[in-house]
């Protein structure tokens, strides 16, 4: 157990480092560029009509304070962190005066829900098919399915989502292609609403699963075909252990640990994919919010979204990382 605690402590240090580097990156991207967000916002606002110089000067001052751009670079950096720790990203400009954190937390459940369900489905499908394909190497059906899923894997999320949009939006319009629920839906929790939300999430989830399952399948197939040649598997086969049991308790159990590590490592990419897919289908999550914020020139919202994405993904990776060794059957021996 002591060894495990050291492992957890080490992973926690890594988590802190990821957050530190990621947040510093967002800070320096936004503060070291020649573009001044205050000027940008002022131009955006004054584009619509004439304003007197004094009002502009006042606006400039307020915005500088609001964006935490007072003082030298180091002071700004300290302000940035102290605001972040308090979860205060300032008010959104496009939905003034709603705080940015409130807008983000409204969109967050959509992204988290889509990401978790799509990841669970693709992880389960990919690993099950991969284990079967690695164990029953001769099966023709499994070979064809594997080939299909592996062929879909390199296609970028955006393009696959776009193809699904064309297929189910123009060619065969059976599923809703945009939004998270019907426009005029009654938002009180009811069976109809849940059904509606599920119907709207089918296409985005399908895009994520189709791209994701292939990589789990290849990984699991390779792991399985290596484990099958191990002595203990041969011994179990000679001892008359059923093939279902061998596959489940002898092969998959051992292969799960590296697959979970793989999940932790690719979580950032999965998050990217979720965000991109949301944009294609206009799903009301973080991705759509991010794009709208960019188009609206909402500085604090973009910054808040980028920071929160980094922290959220880092924490999720940390959790999977510290939980995966507990699944390892060998760890109990210690």
């Amino acid at each position: 157990m002591a060894a495990y605690m050291i492992f957890v402590a080490r992973r926690f240090a890594q988590l802190l480092l990821v957050v530190f580097l990621g947040i510093s990156a967002t800070f320096f991207i936004t503060h070291m560029t020649p573009v001044d967000p205050v000027t940008e916002s002022v131009t955006a606002i004054t584009n619509f009509g004439k304003s007197d110089p004094e009002a502009i000067e006042l606006m400039r001052k307020t915005l500088t304070e609001l964006y935490g751009l007072e003082g030298n670079l180091f002071e700004q950096y300290v302000t940035f962190w102290s605001r972040l720790v308090r979860g205060d990203f300032g008010p959104s400009l496009s939905a003034f005066p709603t705080p940015v954190s409130q807008i983000i937390f409204r969109a967050l459940p959509w992204t988290v829900g889509l990401m978790i369900s799509a990841t669970l489905i693709s992880f389960t499908i990919g690993n099950t098919l991969g284990a079967l394909a690695g164990y029953y190497r001769k099966s023709r059906i499994l070979k064809i399915i594997s080939l299909g899923l592996i062929g879909l894997q390199p296609i970028p999320y955006y393009v696959l989502a776009f193809i699904l949009l064309i297929l189910f939006g123009f060619v065969w319009p059976v599923l809703p292609i945009t939004g998270g629920y019907e426009m005029n839906a009654d938002l009180n929790l009811s069976f109809a609403l849940v059904l509606d939300i599920i119907r709207h999430s089918i296409l985005p989830a399908m895009a994520l699963v189709l791209v994701g399952a292939g990589s789990w399948l290849t990984g699991m197939r390779a792991l399985t075909s290596n484990i099958v040649t191990e002595d203990y598997v041969t011994f179990a086969e000679l001892g008359g252990v059923g093939s279902t049991r061998i596959l489940r308790s002898y092969v998959v159990r051992n292969a799960m640990v590296p697959q979970l590590t793989g999940l932790a490592m690719s979580l950032g990419a999965i998050f990217n994919g979720t965000v991109i897919t949301e944009i294609v289908f206009g799903y009301p999550g973080i991705g759509t919010l991010l794009i709208n914020a960019v188009h609206a020139g909402d500085y604090s919202l973009v910054l808040g979204l980028a920071s929160l994405s980094i922290i959220g993904v880092a924490i999720a990776v940390f959790l999977i990382d510290i939980l995966s060794p507990l699944l390892d059957p060998r760890i109990k021996a210690e």
Partner: protein, 285 residues
């Protein structure tokens, strides 16, 4: 080199298909230099013409010949992917070889940074870059940004090989003959990791071109240079699907799928070629 390619084509169907696609792409790139129209000019031909003998892939609503646009877009996108791959390969080689050879504290520090870059979600950072740069965002900038984000996974791979190379007798001998660390890494270890570097180049291109397409479709790049993503961007902004100009969307989408499957097949078959265990598997089955 030639015999390796010949044997791979003969015994490995994935490589043969991937190689054929690669030749096709090279052909398209060469062809793109003979385009009768300058790439950025609009309204040079009649707009919205369906595919026929004169315009093989039809024309766009912006009055451009879809076929020549596609050829030039392929060239630009490939150049972009190669640029990112080249720069990020250098980064991952430096980090991977140094960490694997030096070990100890250097290794721990480099790998801690490496793992951080690996898990940070790239897309929000790229959007953030566009948000602050706006019109100053150009292709060179995007190549630099993507290179700075896309090296970590392969650096880990290279490090794992470098770690095993360190314990080989020839490394010990080089150290005793007074070779400097830089010399050992470049002259002794680099040749061993080169096959891996080539295989990861394909994967890196799949990733960077995917990002380019996503950012371009959203209009978050310099949209005046024709690339695969930019073609879809303009088609979308003219609502090509709704007005029935399907060839404008179909051409880049099909080309993207062919391009990605080609790159993927090459990377897969190269990985298999590098790993002797899977080569044995193939011969056995």
């Amino acid at each position: 080199m030639f015999t390796i390619v010949r044997d791979l084509i003969r015994y490995n169907i994935e490589f043969a298909v991937g190689f054929a696609i690669l030749l096709l792409l090279i052909g398209a790139v060469i062809l793109s230099f003979f385009s009768p129209y300058p790439a950025a000019d609009i309204y040079v031909v009649a707009p919205d013409m369906p595919p026929d003998a004169e315009f093989w892939l039809g024309t766009t609503s912006r009055g451009q010949d879809n076929f020549w646009q596609l050829m030039i877009a392929l060239r630009n996108t490939l150049a972009f992917g190669l640029g990112v791959a080249f720069l990020s390969r250098i980064l991952s080689l430096v980090v991977g070889l140094t960490a694997g050879y030096a070990g100890g504290r250097v290794d721990r520090v480099l790998m801690a940074i490496n793992d951080s870059v690996m898990v940070i979600p790239h897309f929000p950072i790229l959007v953030l870059f566009y948000f602050v740069l706006k019109d100053d965002m150009n292709w060179l900038m995007l190549v630099l940004i993507l290179s700075a984000l896309g090296w970590s996974y392969d650096a880990r791979l290279i490090r794992s090989i470098a770690m095993s190379l360190r314990t080989r007798p020839f490394t010990t001998q080089s150290v005793y003959s007074g070779m400097s660390m830089r010399k050992i890494l470049v002259e002794e270890h680099l040749p061993y990791v080169m096959p891996i570097v080539f295989a990861t180049t394909m994967n890196n291109m799949i990733w960077s071109i995917g990002m380019e397409i996503t950012l371009s479709v959203l209009g978050f790049t310099d949209v005046d240079t024709p690339t695969m993503g930019q073609m879809i961007y303009w088609a979308n902004s003219h609502s090509a699907l709704i007005s029935g100009i399907w060839w404008w969307v179909a051409a880049p989408v099909v080309a993207i799928i062919v391009l990605f499957i080609g790159l993927f097949l090459l990377s897969m078959s190269m990985n298999e070629y590098i790993d002797p265990r899977s080569r044995l598997n193939r011969m056995g089955s």
